[in-house]
């Protein structure tokens, strides 16, 4: 375990000249579902304004790690998290931290598009409303518009803002969910296989979107597609059986990984 922790910190030393800024840092994070341990002391830093991809075979704990970054694990009855996760140096599991505020800062996009059964407008406006981000209707309209523009959906829905969000196509729904997450101006956006329910064209759109969002947001994305990880991310973390195998620049992971398990997984030899 210790060895692994060192491995993950290695890039930090290597790049000492050009010190990267870490937005969130997981330190020896273990997650238990009841008595079953799903994550084993994972130490993974997440760089600011960078897309970090989490890859690994099914059931290796990618979603579990992702959910612990905005404490969505709290909503699972028997789930317990140990270790430390910081956001801008502040422990997010500290009792003084309010989950509501944390989740406003660390937004989430889910695997299956899950728009509220309300209008497109209300879907996007809901977050800003509950967080009091808009002082009046005009403000709110503005937030909705910019969020939809950022999510690349504005042109497709600007004439039907008051129609049901659930009436959109799957890809549009997923971008609506991204717009909804973006609308509360989070600092980090977590995406759990956001394209797994989408066709290649919709996938391309979402990937393009992730590219653009990178300039403003820190993004952590779980994906089963090696090509997608290679296309959208700058950093990649490989998980296996609840352990972090290695984390490095995406180029390096895909061309010359340190670990043979990573190599095997990328070459499709297991998983």
């Amino acid at each position: 375990m210790n060895m692994m922790a060192e491995t993950t910190l290695e890039p930090k030393q290597a790049q000492a000249m050009n010190e990267p800024v870490y937005k969130m840092i997981g330190n020896k994070v273990s997650v238990f579902y009841g008595t079953k341990q799903a994550l084993f002391e994972v130490s993974l830093p997440v760089r600011e304004k960078t897309v970090t991809a989490l890859i690994g075979p099914s059931g290796c704990g990618k979603s579990t790690f992702l959910r612990s970054l905005n404490r969505m694990n709290d909503t699972i009855d028997n789930c317990r998290v140990t270790g430390q996760i910081t956001l801008d140096g502040q422990d997010i599991y500290d009792p003084s931290i309010d989950v509501v505020e944390l989740r406003a800062r660390v937004g989430m996009v889910f695997q299956k598009p899950n728009p509220f059964p309300k209008s497109i407008y209300e879907n996007v406006a809901y977050g800003p409303k509950i967080h009091g981000l808009a002082r009046n209707k005009a403000d709110l309209d503005q937030i909705v518009e910019t969020s939809l523009i950022k999510a690349g959906l504005w042109n497709e829905v600007k004439d039907r803002l008051h129609e049901a969000g659930t009436g959109l196509s799957g890809g549009q729904q997923q971008r609506l969910c991204i717009a909804r997450a973006v609308a509360v101006s989070p600092e980090v956006i977590l995406m759990d296989e956001p394209c797994s329910a989408l066709d290649p064209i919709a996938t391309a759109k979402v990937e393009e979107l992730i590219h653009e969002l990178r300039s403003n947001f820190t993004i952590v994305i779980v994906t089963h597609s090696m090509q997608q990880a290679a296309r959208v991310s700058q950093r990649t973390a490989m998980f296996h059986l609840g352990n972090l195998v290695e984390e490095n620049d995406t180029d390096k992971i895909f061309t010359n990984p340190d670990e043979s398990r990573t190599q095997d997984y990328i070459m499709g030899r297991f998983g």
């Binding site: 909503t75 299956k112 809901y126």
Partner: protein
């Protein structure tokens, strides 16, 4: 294709159509059973509705006899005191006015006691109070002659509706030949008519069928429904939300859950006993009061509402909760902004079905004394009243033909309310569902 092989190694073709015919036959048989079951159900429903409606529709019309009534001063205000005290008019001899009116109309001598007795028996006793109320409301009628429509007596009403067997010898008949003759005269002159029976809806209990109505019972039922709705919906929904969303999952909540399910199956009469011992004997609330009935029915309805509400809360997709929580909504916000609106159609359906059950419930009300002869309208839920199903129960125990007809009439009224409530449930569900 020919070399395709199944997992067991047998040639694929050989296995393919095994059982296809049997499967289709099974499906056809299943459908046939379904259709038979439906047909049997519909037949009994139709039989029920036919029997109730054919027996009961006549309850909605009532025979009235129009008589020229002269409010002679010496009968209603012999001492001429109405100037100082109009209340003396209420003590008038209205039976005499009716007798005189009948004598004038039917042309017999008022002193002929036999004819007078037969004739006055044709008019309901309640006509006297009707005349009294009329005169008290308008004292200027004294000395004038007015044509007044008076309620016919129950047996005359039945005879007019053709419900009395006239082939029976006169001595064993409630309606005598002389009366039948008079009825014919009056009918030919248009003075014996059938009119819509408003009394059925406005009158309270009465031992005379023609004057008995559902008014008090409907009022009692209304008070009870309001009580049940106001109490059981918020309590039931709040309890379900707590149990479903907030309560920790442990032995205690499991026990509570099992017990709620058990309570839903407890016979309603047990709730009546509970209400009797708690609300009446212990808390000292009045007997026969709609409020107590409402409380008992609330207890009875709560499990139904809680079960329906929990089921519809459970049915809300978890992805909606995750979406809201992931945006930073608190648990309360998630529930009240997203989960509850989606669960609303189910909750309302459950509630209205619970209310409909409560509306038709009789047994517990018998125990708390709501089976009573209540002639006066209850002004508050604390005054004695009855309920629609209890009224049906009481009328069903009466012997007169006119009560039989009213029993079915009351059943029609009750069924109409139930159908309206179910329609309401459907409409509400549609309305809420249209908001996606």
């Amino acid at each position: 294709m020919s070399d395709a092989v199944t997992l067991t190694g047998m040639p694929a073709q050989a296995r393919r159509d095994i059982g296809i015919k049997r499967r289709y036959a099974a499906e056809r048989r299943f459908r046939a059973y379904g259709i038979i079951a439906m047909a049997v159900g519909l037949f009994f429903l139709a039989a029920l509705i036919f029997s109730v409606v054919s027996k009961g529709y006549t309850a909605f019309v009532q025979t009235t006899i129009t008589l020229p009534i002269e409010f002679t001063e010496k009968d209603v205000d012999p001492d001429n005191k109405r100037g100082e005290n109009p209340a003396v008019l209420a003590q008038g001899d209205f039976a005499k006015l009716i007798k005189q009116g009948l004598a004038k109309r039917l042309g017999f001598d008022p002193s002929d006691r036999k004819s007078a007795k037969l004739a006055t028996a044709m008019i309901s006793d309640s006509a006297r109070t009707d005349l009294r109320d009329m005169l008290v409301a308008d004292p200027s009628l004294v000395g004038k002659t007015v044509n007044v429509s008076l309620l016919a007596e129950g047996n005359i009403d039945s005879a007019n509706k053709g419900q009395i067997d006239l082939s029976v010898p006169e001595a064993r008949r409630k309606v005598k030949d002389k009366q039948l003759e008079w009825m014919k005269t009056l009918r030919d002159a248009g003075d014996l008519t059938k009119a819509f029976n408003t009394g059925l809806f406005t009158n309270g209990a009465s031992s005379r069928p023609e004057a008995a109505g559902l008014g008090v019972a409907a009022m009692g039922s209304l008070f009870m429904m309001v009580t049940v709705f106001v109490l059981s919906l918020p309590i039931g929904v709040a309890a379900s939300i707590y149990l479903e969303e907030f309560a920790p999952k442990n032995r205690l909540t499991d026990l509570i859950e099992v017990n709620i399910n058990n309570l839903a199956a407890v016979p309603s009469i047990v709730y009546g006993l509970l209400g009797l011992s708690i609300f009446i004997n212990f808390a000292g609330m009045p007997r026969s009061a709609a409020l107590v009935g409402g409380l008992v029915l609330t207890l009875m309805t709560l499990p139904t509402i809680i079960i329906a509400t929990r089921a519809s809360l459970k049915a809300v997709p978890p992805s909606i909760r995750s979406a809201a929580l992931g945006l930073g909504a608190s648990k309360m916000q998630t529930i009240f902004h997203h989960v509850l609106p989606l669960a609303m159609p189910g909750i309302l359906t459950g509630t209205i079905i619970g209310l409909a059950h409560a509306l038709g419930e009789t047994a517990p009300l018998l125990l708390i004394g709501m089976v009573a002869f209540v002639a006066d309208f209850p002004a508050t839920p604390l005054e004695p009243s009855t309920a629609l199903p209890v009224q049906i129960y009481m009328w069903a125990n009466e012997a007169e033909r006119a009560f039989t007809e009213r029993t079915s009439g009351a059943i029609i009224v009750l069924l109409t309310f139930l159908i309206l409530m179910n329609l309401g449930a459907i409409l509400l569900r549609r309305r809420f569902e249209r908001r996606w």
